[in-house]
């Protein structure tokens, strides 16, 4: 999954460096605050461990190669912020000494594997701990599953980065300049390998080592549903919000999301027919659809408020509003539930 130099355009690389920077900044500040403790040598040790783990590459069909990254272990022992520094360090040394992953692509690799990887692991780890409760295998299982999810999320991010290259970076004749395969190819290609071999390797190693560490160094791994920090969740949400413009890139509408007007639009009809496996589309919207479509007029129609002209900005704003509304609903439910 380490992306070498030359497959992503310079602007993609720059964007991902810029996206990684704030996370690195926060992580460094948090680590600096604990300079007098043994956090830094621990961090360095996990970075070294992650490095050694990543050296064992398993070649995968159609999906570059897979390996365990140690993302699960680093997050569970060090926390998400120190963890992402550890994995970033391992990635940098790999890039410098083995050319495994490029230097201009380092921002991308760190974003996918270190930053997103550790944050996603943390969120799911905490979530699963609450689900599994105080059972003896809770931590190992939560860590293993969280790491599995995280690795696949990292693979998805990499696939997206590859997949958007042919869309944006073409020469005058329309030929791709960088990675040439579209999302429809890269996403399955990356995910197949990681949902299977690489993900399972990560799951197995994380579960095995956490079990071992629980036995031998009990204080090391945070036990039980401790106070849930919202910061990493916020970070993950921020991440997802930034990624929402990707939705713009998928041409056309998702299955079943056609509006009443689409039935009269020739292009949309073609799409509907294709999605319906060739069955001819009705010439006009079904009566029921027409009647109910008028019932509710959404404030942020089609995710693009009228006062914002740039579609990406509109998308992001909609995402922010959507998430905020969702959070308000969830928190209100939570407060209500606690009251009862």
């Amino acid at each position: 999954m380490h992306i070498p130099d030359g497959y992503l355009s310079p602007s993609t690389c720059a964007t991902l460096y810029t996206a990684s920077a704030p996370f690195w900044y926060v992580a460094l500040k948090k680590v600096k605050a604990r300079l007098h403790t043994k956090l830094i040598p621990r961090l360095a040790l996990f970075a070294a461990f992650s490095f050694v783990l990543m050296m064992f590459n398993v070649p995968l069909p159609g999906g570059t190669s897979g390996h365990a990254t140690g993302v699960g272990l680093a997050t569970v022992v060090l926390g998400p912020w120190a963890g992402m520094l550890a994995i970033s360090t391992a990635l940098l040394i790999q890039a410098l000494f083995f050319g495994d992953g490029g230097i201009t692509a380092f921002g991308a690799n760190a974003f996918n594997m270190a930053i997103a990887g550790c944050l996603v692991t943390y969120v799911f780890y905490r979530l699963l701990l609450r689900v599994f409760g105080m059972r003896p295998w809770a931590q190992a299982a939560a860590a293993a599953i969280a790491a599995y999810i995280a690795i696949n999320f990292s693979a998805l991010l990499a696939a997206i980065e590859f997949g958007i290259q042919p869309m944006f970076f073409k020469d005058a004749a329309g030929h791709p300049l960088y990675a040439p395969f579209p999302l429809s190819v890269t996403i399955p290609a990356m995910l197949i390998g990681h949902l299977t071999f690489a993900g399972l390797a990560e799951l197995a190693i994380t579960g095995g080592v956490v079990t071992y560490l629980k036995r031998t160094s009990p204080g090391l791994i945070a036990a039980g549903p401790a106070p849930f920090s919202w910061k990493p969740v916020a970070a993950v949400l921020a991440l997802l919000i930034i990624l929402t413009p990707v939705g713009l890139l998928t041409a056309g509408r998702a299955f079943g999301e056609w509006s009443a007007q689409d039935f009269q639009n020739a292009d949309a009809r073609v799409q509907i027919e294709r999605a319906a496996g060739g069955a001819p589309a009705p010439s006009d919207a079904p009566n029921g659809l027409r009647r109910f479509a008028k019932l509710w007029s959404a404030p942020l129609r089609d995710y693009s408020p009228k006062f914002i002209s740039n579609p990406s900005a509109g998308y992001i704003l909609s995402a922010v509003v959507g998430v905020a509304l969702l959070l308000i609903v969830i928190l209100s439910f939570g407060a209500l539930a606690r009251r009862c």
């Binding site: 310079p10 360095a44 490095f51 050694v52 190669s65 000494f97 490029g102 395969f181």
Partner: protein, 245 residues
């Protein structure tokens, strides 16, 4: 597939590669210039759209490497690293988008690889770190990098010892499940042992006054040679960038 054999050979490859950088071609020169130079050339190479320019760049870089004392064997071993990815992405691209794109993809990654290989093999790692420190990479990160580098050797040494002693104690064949179990228990034990040692390494450093900054004996002063290197590398990067469009 004998898992422990695979492990052992990978581990010795690892130490081999890392140790090489410690004791190889020490060509002098300000490491800051070398790091900036590598960056400029890499960024230029990644922006190139004409494969002929990349071939020229690769030839030039190889020439510099060989004249600095690198063996062809080492160079090719470095290039082999990039070919794996190329096989998976670039080769299918031939059928999809033509051989020129495939060539471009491969050459870009190889050119970048060669740049950094050159840097790493001609500059001791702690000087690279010192250069990064001088170029404003946060000190905490530099300290982490430096310690990680040391711990890698420690880990690999411990792992090799463990595997060796295990190998001499296993009689008869092992099943796949046995292999997997051994693997994750090895990983766990390795981590446990290393944690103790890593604490000691840190104490040893603190005991001699380490407080997070990297200090080296060499003074970084730009000599004429360094300025001319910087200028020529910048010119090279610019040339590559401009002609490559």
């Amino acid at each position: 597939m004998n898992v422990s054999r695979v492990l052992e050979s990978t581990l010795s490859q690892l130490t081999g590669a890392l140790e090489q950088s410690e004791s190889t071609l020490k060509t002098g020169g300000d490491p800051r210039v070398k790091v900036i130079g590598a960056l400029l050339v890499t960024v230029a190479a990644v922006s190139v759209r004409r494969w002929e320019i990349l071939i020229a760049l690769l030839v030039l870089l190889s020439g510099v490497a060989i004249s600095a004392g690198m063996t062809w064997k080492r160079l090719c071993a470095g290039w082999a690293g990039g070919l794996f990815f190329a096989a998976v992405v670039a080769v299918p691209a031939v059928f999809n988008s033509g051989w020129q794109l495939a060539l471009l993809l491969v050459l870009r990654s190889e050119a970048s690889l060669t740049c950094w290989l050159l840097l790493i093999l001609t500059t001791p790692f702690n000087l690279v770190l010192r250069a990064l420190q001088a170029l404003s990479v946060p000190t905490v990160f530099i300290a982490i990098l430096s310690m990680t580098f040391r711990y890698i050797f420690l880990l690999v040494q411990t792992a090799q010892d463990m595997l060796l002693s295990r190998r001499s104690r296993i009689v008869g064949r092992m099943t796949g499940a046995d292999h997997r179990r051994m693997l994750s228990s090895t990983a766990g034990v390795l981590l446990g042992k290393s944690m103790q040692m890593s604490d000691d390494v840190y104490h040893a450093m603190a005991s001699r006054g380490f407080r997070g900054e990297i200090r080296v004996m060499q003074n970084f002063e730009m000599a004429t040679r360094d300025w001319s290197l910087l200028v020529s590398v910048a010119a090279l990067a610019a040339a590559v960038f401009v002609t490559g469009r």
